[in-house]
């Protein structure tokens, strides 16, 4: 039965990531924690792009909504991490819902440009209120402000498992979602929206739901990033941070549950390895984007699924 196989494989990855902490040298702990948080961001992105077929160029807006929702609550509201995190996630959900109401009136290229423009407006807004956000320079969230239920999240071990918990949640939500009727309908919308409508589904409501879920996960990743790495800066709201999840998901395989993690992992270490040769790491990102669109539009996991493992969700 493919259900058991799927569950074993995906839970296996989470167990492996948990165990790696005890195996890998310390240098990789920080890297993997960062990868898991960013992969959670990619998982969120994949729900909209990979499964619903809506290519957003503005997800940095949601990531930043989470990061600044948390960061500003801690910095200026004196909040503790748990409520601040909730505020960040909620901020992302609200922003995603509002943008969805506007952007979903368009399709295709117009949808891409609309999301790009609103995210850019969000980025500029963060710069505009530099007095509070400290603009490009950003602000540090102090170690003392990062105690969650007595656990110091600036400590490598605590940070690793917090990142693992976040990623596991996003990953399992995405796995659960695409096997539910709601997720199956999203996939069908990606394939042929008009047909889905004529089967009696409110496709607009489904796309709205997908965008809110996607934005909420992105915001959770953004909030966690601020909390775990102690920093919030405007660069996380820039176009580049909207392109990154697209790149990771394309590389790993859009519309696969494993793809976002695989893509984030590969890209991270690709840039890490190339940093010895060049500091212009965005060059690597650009080349990868072009090569992927040309030669492997399905990404790594997508190609695997097409060739050998049709049962992969």
């Amino acid at each position: 039965m493919s259900g058991a196989r799927v569950l074993t494989l995906h839970l296996g990855l989470l167990v492996l990531l948990f165990a790696l902490h005890f195996v890998l040298p310390a240098y990789h702990h920080g890297n993997l924690a960062r990868i898991m948080v960013l992969a959670a961001y990619a998982v969120g992105y994949n729900i909209l792009f990979g499964y619903t077929g809506l290519l957003s160029l503005g997800h940095a807006l949601f990531f930043a909504a989470g990061m600044y929702g948390l960061g500003l609550m801690i910095q200026h509201g004196g909040a503790t991490p748990a409520p601040a995190f909730m505020v960040g996630v909620l901020a992302g959900a609200v922003v995603a819902g509002l943008l969805a109401l506007l952007a979903l009136r368009t399709t295709g290229v117009a949808f891409m440009i609309v999301t790009l423009m609103f995210a850019q407006a969000g980025y500029l807004t963060i710069l505009y209120f530099g007095e509070w956000t400290r603009g490009d320079e950003g602000f540090v969230i102090q170690q003392a402000q990062r105690l969650l239920w007595g656990i110091d999240l600036s400590q490598p071990t605590a940070r690793y498992f917090a990142a693992w918990a976040l990623f596991s949640t996003a990953f399992l939500v995405s796995l659960w979602l695409v096997r539910r009727p709601f997720g199956r309908t999203l996939i069908a919308i990606r394939e042929n929206e008009e047909r889905v409508r004529m089967l009696g589904y409110d496709t607009h409501a489904h796309k709205l739901g997908a965008m809110v879920i996607s934005g909420t996960i992105a915001a959770a990743a953004g909030a966690a990033y601020g909390l775990l790495f102690g920093y919030a800066g405007a660069s996380f709201a820039s176009v580049q941070y909207s392109i990154f999840p697209l790149l990771w998901v394309l590389l790993g395989g859009a519309g696969t549950v494993l793809g976002p993690f695989v893509g984030t992992l590969f890209m991270f270490y690709l840039i890490d390895l190339s940093s010895g040769i060049t500091s212009a790491y965005m060059l690597i990102a650009g080349v990868t984007l072009v090569l992927l669109t040309l030669f492997a539009p399905q990404g790594l996991v997508g190609e695997l699924r097409a060739r050998a493992f049709r049962w992969l969700p």
């Binding site: 394939e191 042929n192 409508r197 004529m198 089967l199 009696g200 409110d202 496709t203």
Partner: protein, 235 residues
């Protein structure tokens, strides 16, 4: 009892009148064929019936309820099903998933699997349920379309040129299927193939230049001079 009726239903595209003031009544349980030359407005007409195309004027009534302002998905939930003229199954999804998408809207979660199996069995695609829909032959894709319509358990099934591109043998099987379907659903059939129309339809409506030209039994329509001039004569 009248299941579907339209009053003064009209559509114009940029000043071009595609459908003009059609009054149409379809009693429950009937197989009705809608025929007419290419560009007569048949697809536009059923598009307005099921909500794909907003009408310029007129009303659509379904089961005694004015549904003119309802969006397509709500009309479908009232018990309509529409199969596309151009095959539009979900090519990259499994055959069974295609049908399940249709069935989930109609059946409680636990009954979906049974409904899918039933629908596939009725069109004879049971042994293909795990294949990717895009890999099916053209004729089988048309059958899959019909299975998706069946799984919706519709009260009104609208079939837009279901036999287009089918072989002789497949068409014969299709005629049997239609007669079988009529036991539980009212059927509105857009059809070019005259043998299908003559052998399956209870009544026939003829649309020409967006106007309802004639209506009657297949034999009456066959004998109607105006229809002959507009349609049958030109082949």
């Amino acid at each position: 009892m009248t299941l579907l009726s339209t009053r003064g239903l009209s559509k114009s595209f940029d000043g071009l009148q595609a459908v003009s003031a059609v009054d149409f009544d379809l009693p429950q349980g009937e197989i009705r064929a809608l025929i007419g030359p290419n560009g007569a407005g048949k697809t536009t007409f059923v598009g307005m019936v099921c909500g794909r195309i907003p009408p310029s004027a007129g009303q659509v009534m379904f089961d005694g309820q004015d549904i003119t302002s309802l969006p397509a998905h709500k009309r479908i939930l009232l018990g309509m099903a529409y199969t596309f003229q151009i095959t539009s199954v979900f090519a990259r999804l499994d055959v069974s998933e295609n049908v399940a998408l249709a069935a989930r809207r109609r059946h409680p979660p636990k009954k979906v699997a049974v409904a899918v199996d039933e629908a596939l069995a009725r069109v004879g695609l049971s042994d293909r349920s795990d294949e990717e829909a895009g890999n099916l032959s053209y004729g089988h894709q048309r059958l899959l379309e019909i299975a998706m319509g069946l799984a919706q358990k519709p009260r009104l099934l609208i079939l837009d040129e279901p036999t287009q591109g089918l072989s002789e043998g497949e068409i014969a099987g299709f005629k049997d299927l239609i007669r079988d379907l009529a036991k539980e659903a009212t059927i509105l059939l857009i059809e070019h193939n005259m043998s299908v129309v003559m052998e399956t339809a209870d009544r026939v409506s003829v649309l020409d230049f967006g106007v309802l030209l004639a209506e009657g039994t297949p034999a009456e329509i066959h004998a109607n001079a105006a229809v002959q001039a507009a349609y049958l004569g030109t082949g």
